[in-house]
């Protein structure tokens, strides 16, 4: 396995990207142009927009993001382990048990602390 295996993927990206780019540019050539003030405004269900959206948002989203980072790294560690479990056998089970165990304590902790509750 070499990096040449990834060449087709690069080619696919290089073909897909211009396709998306052209699709985005096409209407500016083909479509009509009648801009007016009302079209330029933010949509707020017909109300006059009163504030822009650069503002604070609920902290729970951060919480989800932080938890995701922790557990996603766990998943990434699981992948190589899963591929080679046949060689690691019991040793692999124990090692991953320790690793998962520590993470599960953290999981239990955030659960009991109510990090998953959403008001």
């Amino acid at each position: 396995m070499t990096s040449a295996d990834y060449l087709p993927i690069l080619i696919l990206i290089l073909i897909a990207a211009p396709f998306a780019g052209i699709a985005i540019l096409l209407p500016s050539v083909l479509g009509p142009k009648n801009p007016n003030r009302m079209k330029q405004e933010a949509i707020e269900s017909g109300m006059i927009p009163f504030a822009d959206a650069r503002r604070r948002f609920p902290v729970q989203y951060y919480m989800v993001a932080v938890l995701f980072i922790i557990f996603d790294i766990e998943v990434i560690f699981l992948f190589p382990w899963a591929v080679s479990l046949n060689q690691l056998k019991i040793f692999g089970l124990i090692e991953m048990g320790v690793f998962l165990g520590i993470l599960l304590i953290g999981y239990l902790y955030v659960w009991k602390k109510g990090a998953f509750e959403w008001e």
């Binding site: 040449a4 993927i9 479509g31 009648n34 989800v64 992948f79 479990l85 089970l93 998953f116």
Partner: protein
């Protein structure tokens, strides 16, 4: 033939296939939904409304391009592309038919065979989140921001059970071999004992739920919620840019079905899909197509039957039910692999 030229041809074919698939998936969905509602669905453009997707595409292209004054222009314009490109690219590692051998030449029906195929799936699937969150953020609209945040939180939350189940599936590839594999092509080439199929199908409902959430489909279409967020992150988008987001969602549905068909139902495998014969690829693709269409039917069926769930329920279901279940499944699979396999 040089690998570059072959790859270019395959890539073009794949993109055309996916776009056609997308176009007729919208038709398929509208027809099916109409049937569920006891309506007729699109039937004006062409026979049985078959030209409807083309009419839609033409309409999208000829729409006026509106870039509202309050948006962050560059990101606003790039975001739909960022959302679509991963959806197109992710398909690269999925085999859609058995190899075709003509004389000394072998044609493989997948764009790339990389040894980390499943990791690639997981990686590219997460990149798709960027397009959505950037689109929502750059729109500078409260609804859009909220919608994109919801999407991001939902997608990354459901990525955990997705990843855990994927790890469990990788574990099962250890059975009967020296080591496991991450390549979808090898997974298909390796025979599985009957009890393993049953064990895998146990995980299928969970996996299907994560795929629903990953592609923001009903009942997990919280990002869009027409009636509270007026279409969420897409609210400031119109015309072709909206269509690109739409495309990304539908193509990710197709991709999701293809992944599930490959991992749980044997992909192109079926009677008469024999590798190496002249008819093998045709029959194999037929099986693959049927499986994907059947799974897509389930997607739409769910949309027509299940009400949308509340956002707190959505995240709690992921973190409190799905994640523990998939960890449990993973642990049991590991035990099976070590002690039975």
């Amino acid at each position: 033939m040089s690998i570059v030229l072959l790859s270019i041809l395959k890539s073009l074919a794949l993109i055309i296939l996916l776009l056609t698939g997308f176009a007729y998936l919208t038709y398929y969905e509208r027809k099916l939904l109409a049937r569920f509602h006891v309506r007729r669905g699109p039937n004006r453009a062409g026979p049985f409304g078959l030209l409807q997707p083309i009419a839609d595409a033409v309409k999208a292209i000829f729409k006026e391009e509106i870039v509202p004054g309050h948006v962050d222009k560059l990101i606003y314009i790039v975001a739909p592309a960022l959302s679509l490109i991963p959806a197109l690219v992710i398909f690269a590692v999925i085999p859609i038919a058995p190899d075709l051998r003509l004389g000394g030449f072998t044609l493989q029906f997948h764009v790339a065979d990389i040894n980390v195929g499943l990791l690639y799936l997981a990686a590219i699937a997460s990149v798709a989140t960027y397009g959505i969150i950037l689109g929502g953020w750059s729109s500078n609209n409260n609804y859009a921001l909220l919608g994109s945040l919801r999407t991001a939180a939902q997608m990354i939350s459901y990525e955990l059970p997705f990843g855990l189940l994927l790890a469990a599936i990788i574990l099962t590839t250890n059975i009967g071999r020296e080591a496991g594999t991450l390549s979808l092509i090898e997974i298909l080439n390796q025979p599985r004992p009957w009890w393993l199929w049953l064990w895998l199908w146990l995980a299928f409902p969970m996996f299907f739920i994560t795929m629903l959430a990953e592609s923001n489909r009903s009942p997990f279409d919280l990002p869009e919620t027409e009636n509270e967020l007026i279409a969420g992150f897409q609210v400031e988008y119109g015309g072709i840019k909206f269509a690109l987001f739409f495309m990304a969602e539908y193509i990710s549905m197709i991709t999701g079905s293809a992944i599930m068909a490959t991992l749980f139902f044997g992909g192109w495998r079926g009677p008469f899909a024999d590798p190496g014969t002249w008819y093998g690829p045709i029959v194999g693709f037929g099986w693959f197509f049927l499986k994907v269409v059947a799974l897509l039917f389930v997607y739409i069926w769910v949309r027509a039957s299940v009400p949308r769930i509340r956002y707190d329920q959505l995240l709690q279901f992921c973190w409190k039910v799905l994640t523990p279940l998939s960890i449990g499944y993973l642990v049991l699979t590991a035990l099976i692999v070590v002690f039975v396999g």
